[in-house]
Symmetry: D2
Subunit: 359 residues, 4 copies
């Protein structure tokens, strides 16, 4: 039996690669299962929701193995798995480790049709495990379609994935706002209109400079509850800033997609209301403009097959858009630190060196 390693959360700001148990064909209670498959992890990414945990802003317990974005190779399967074979390359919601068990494998795993083709595009396909469907869901739920003008709040990986999704959905123009120089430069380099939120606390003005009108058809919140203010206020946390600014700049009848995480309680906040999960929202403004708000986690299985098709046919260069950066498992803790500082990169962990070998 092979050894196994995972990226383990030890407390706010502390992350370490540790030896962990090798997965067994069992459910969490120890009951044997025959519908599962064990994957050798080909790639697993650092996600903003992992980062919220690492910052100590959620209820993650110490000792948790981080991560959930996984692409892997089937190396063992239960008797009841009928549609997969050992050796298949698959995408799933999983963890940051060397090996992992996935239950109900026939239902949960998206198989790539051609293994060689898949390894050649593995830096793009690894984004199917969460970030790309999440950005896509944000754009779709905001109502982005052919000819839409779109504003995305946040130029981190989810914001960039939402922007790339808006583009393939036919958006006429996609703007993306942030407070970070490096991220704004990268957003521009991959074809979006950067909006520097430090320049003004009036987002409508900034948008008007690009599209001659201060309102957009659709907007996406790819920031969430750790938002900071705009303009002079950008150094301070202000958890409802993004939501309120999106109501200001989204046209009457428009939609707001909210893949950015909001939490039921935020003990680490300096704001007393926010600690209890309350936000000061300008909801009457949204009501006056007949806005629709879509929240919550993404139904990945709803989108991953069609997005895979778009990647395999060279329509969606998502690795380039999010600046996929491959590192070893050992480099994961450094990756968390750099990501926390705002690196304009999407870190992809390569535990077995398979990605670097394929390149």
């Amino acid at each position: 039996m092979a050894s196994n390693r995972g990226v383990v959360y030890l407390g706010p700001g502390k992350v370490e690669v540790q030896s962990i148990d090798y997965p067994k064909m069992q459910n969490p209670k120890g009951k044997a299962i025959e519908h599962g498959a064990i994957l050798k992890i080909v790639s697993t990414n650092i996600c903003g929701s992992d980062q919220h945990m690492v910052r100590g802003r959620t209820t993650a317990p110490s000792g948790l193995v981080l991560g959930h974005e996984i692409t892997g190779e089937v190396i063992e399967k239960g008797k009841d798995v009928e549609y997969l074979n050992v050796g298949d390359l698959v995408s799933v919601v999983g963890g940051q480790a060397d090996y992992v068990l996935v239950p109900y494998a026939d239902f949960n795993l998206l198989k790539f049709p051609d293994k060689d083709q898949a390894m050649a595009k593995i830096r793009d396909l690894t984004m199917l495990s969460d970030i790309l469907p999440t950005g896509f869901h944000g754009a779709v739920s905001a109502g982005v379609g052919v000819g839409s003008t779109v504003y995305v709040a946040g130029a981190g990986p989810v914001g960039l994935a939402a922007a790339a999704s808006a583009r393939i959905l036919g958006a006429a123009v996609v703007m993306i706002g942030d407070l970070n120089d490096e991220r704004l430069k990268h957003a521009k380099a991959v074809g979006f209109e950067p909006i520097d939120l430090r320049k003004s606390d009036n987002l409508g003005d900034l948008i008007e400079q690009v599209i001659k009108t201060p309102e957009v058809d659709a907007s996406v919140d790819a920031v969430g509850f750790e938002a900071r203010g705009h303009g002079n206020e950008h150094v301070n946390e202000a958890p409802a800033t993004v939501l309120n600014s999106l109501m200001t700049v989204t046209r009457a009848g428009g939609g707001i997609g909210i893949p950015g995480l909001y939490v039921t309680a935020d003990p680490g906040s300096k704001d007393e209301a926010a600690q209890q999960g309350n936000l000061r929202m300008r909801f009457g403004l949204g009501w006056a403009k007949s806005h629709r708000f879509y929240t919550g986690q993404t139904p990945v299985l709803k989108y991953n097959r069609q997005l895979m098709q778009a990647i395999l046919h060279d329509r969606l260069p998502i690795a380039k858009v999010v600046n996929a950066t491959v590192v070893s498992l050992e480099e994961a803790p450094q990756g968390y630190q750099d990501f926390d500082k705002g690196a304009a990169k999407k870190y992809v962990l390569d535990p077995h060196g398979m990605i670097r070998k394929a390149a």
Copy 2:
């Protein structure tokens, strides 16, 4: 030329029937138009949004002629009106008066196909001018469908219209919550499950007593920004109470329809944040449950024709459900007072006595 009268807002709590100008075939700037029609008002209803104005909680100026829910008879039309004839009975968004001008008459007016049949059902058809489409939009946008379990906040006319809409949309069970005895009794009498919000501040418990589970598939906010607390808090205004409680009782993945009015600023509120249009919302709770929120005014023309069909074929007894109560134009000020006190009635003004004559 006939004289004209309207129900005029004079200041908080003050309403009077006054002589007003007879409508002319002109736009507000005095330019002659040929696409309009002048209606003799057959019925016009007191609406909750009029009531918000009368309470002084909006920016309505003194001197405003109140009302917008109108059914009328075409008595004069411009040269360019092609699809309507003098004598036709029509539904429209208009005003509380004797006579009114409607521009773009061919587009804005819904003609009833048979005048006699329409007069026989005028107490139902008058609800097409706003309240019924508004309740219907609330139910539709919440995602109510066949087999849905539904909770409607507020047993006033819009809440009852939303409940009736949920029923004709195929809901399995429709609950309706309020703080007012008379309204709860009426809701029960017309076939809904009443929820007495004074009994507990835990809405989930009250719902569980009816359907054995504390969550519903869809919910509708028919209260808006003048909400009061639940349980012991029901005597105090708490503008986000309804929104927060709907997030609590709507299941993960469910929808929340919000026809209840929220305002961009509420100078009359005792709550400082609410004065500036800020609500303390538990938005993270909604996010954790992947809720969808639909706000804003109703696109009446999208729904009024199909709802008319349902009324004319005896599928939607909306007059009975909202307890339509016909009064004369002179009785309108008294109607506003009684409605403000929570009368379980929907007041229908009958300026020319045509409804009482038809009955």
Copy 3:
């Protein structure tokens, strides 16, 4: 191990109850599976698609165990079944026998929440296994909504289920056409407008007599390829009759739902083109009216949970609408004969006498 019996197709018009193998926890190739469950069949219905087979109009082989509409009790389950327990009452697509194995039980079976309540409504709930979702899909795909005027072709069980579905979807009026006296009388008795197709070959005229206009908003084909002509032509098969007549009576922009079966080849037809699966369709007529056509089998799992909710809350009396008639397994061959002659009944087989005992 218990013995087992099934209703077996022996050739055109020949059906017999025979002893068959008791199900094993294996897939068809003999491989053991742990995700399945064995059901004791509580009810199983005779369906029109079984009837097409019995008439010899499809490619069904001799020796086939008929049936697919099943409600059963879990009496054994594989190790991997996690959400069901022995004793649970469930709905599924299955077969006409005493016992049956269902694979992927956690995914395929709809569990009734309360067994006693379910047995009390078993004559309604048995319709969830196919006919009700099929009729519902026909109505939904035709675009039936609140206020729709609807025409359903065929007053057999699927037509009645489509009509009941149209009603709970809020249709203003539901007409149902047939050539059979008994079925027309029954359709009228359960609240629909019967259209006697022998009276005229002009369906629009017959519809106009009911709703004053010869066109409807939506229509459903619950007849399929064994259609006969209208009016004087009603004694002869004419496979495109229903489709062509629905194009005639559906309004411009309307939808046509087609749950009625059409086959890729019909060797038993007298029409040479039909033998090869060709229909003479007036497609240009449909095009001129911008019709939408929805075909194919029903995704039962998409609808059965919400329809169960509607039944359990007394909103959908489907047993009464389709005239559910309970018979023993031994009476199945007679049931096929009577159904073939046009009995206005939906036969429910009760292999273990559990339904009659519960009544």
Copy 4:
């Protein structure tokens, strides 16, 4: 008052530029109207549906002024027109002439926001008047989305517009079939996968050579009733060929968009059934695959604004895709002849020389 000229249909194959009446502010019965506007035509295109008329395959009367795709400049407006000014550049469904009257101008005309910008893109924007929305509707109604594999039947202008629409909707791959060398070459040159239908009567084989599977997610019929056979049969008309082949190559559960014209009667056909509007369709095949069929004319106003946005922001180079070719009004008869022979061009008439001047 200026003189006026139009392209007039004189009989099968005969088209002439003639003097016609200058438009008046009147409806067809001579009644003065105030909601109309007179346009000076900037561009007007030859459309396949004009071509069907010119071939004598429809009921068009001799003397008809051809054309309906118009872009124009407002040169006079009625008193009731409020949202347009003289000088505005607008898109509309109109006619092939020098000048034309458009009723309900405020509702029917799409105004280009900036006249200079619009003239610079006039060869693209002229496609908004019909062909682009028609192709877009075909793709949308077929269910084309991000990652779809798509087959478009017909590489004429509508087929190319459907293909361009599929691309901006995010299709993974777009194939386009035709029998004409020049059109196939052009389709390839603008980025689509050409399918030469003369090579085989098995369309699935041809598709499999491109995408490794013989079925697509969505397909579009941009040919209509004048279809010819595939493979060896390509010299003969066979009106159901395209529809039947699309059922063959569209996957189970897929959609078929049908912008191609089908007629209620086709007196010019050699096929007796087709003369009466009957097609021999393999409808049972479509049923077995649960296909959806969407027919009819396009609701242009539903799409033209968003498509204009996509053009103005350089996302949709439709002029290049359809090979827009500008000719004078006098050259229209020649254009009809060349188009009839299968020229891989979309002819744009330029009655006042404004387009050539702007270039």
